[in-house]
Symmetry: C2
Subunit: 88 residues, 2 copies
């Protein structure tokens, strides 16, 4: 099914803007380990910190693995934000 | 909760590559109406066709509405692909 699909590749660049550089760094440091250890053979993900932005790049072979990667990334960020909010 | 969050905005550019221009056009034509009618006050989505690529831009106020938009977009594309595969 996947091999016969006319969809060749899904690439995405996600920019998450934070209030300030410090907040972005806190969230980045909380989730970097998840990104470096997440195993996925059909998609690859990178995460970068650029001042007050976290930039996530996803390169997936099909729409299912793309969706799984986006959902994981957003869940990690949301969890880190919620813990961060609790401590403020 | 959302107003207090240090997350300001989530922006994404998703590029979906197809085998050829014709396949990209078929999928684009199938889903364009969904994009133009989907109501969402916390995020906006645009879709463009560029040769064999479909390009989706999402601009969201928070991670929840971003995730909802990505999931809707991917579901529409996946459904269009599955119907397309059935007819081939």
């Amino acid at each position: 099914m996947i091999d016969e699909s006319p969809l060749e590749r899904v690439r995405s660049n996600i920019v998450i803007e934070f209030e300030d550089n410090a907040q972005a760094k806190i969230i980045y440091d909380s989730i970097i380990l998840e990104f470096s250890t997440a195993p996925d053979f059909r998609s690859s993900m990178t995460i970068d910190l650029d001042e007050s932005n976290i930039i996530i790049n996803i390169d997936a072979e099909d729409s299912t693995s793309f969706r799984a990667s986006v959902n994981s990334a957003i869940k990690w960020i949301k969890l880190a934000l919620e813990i961060n909010d609790l401590t403020n």
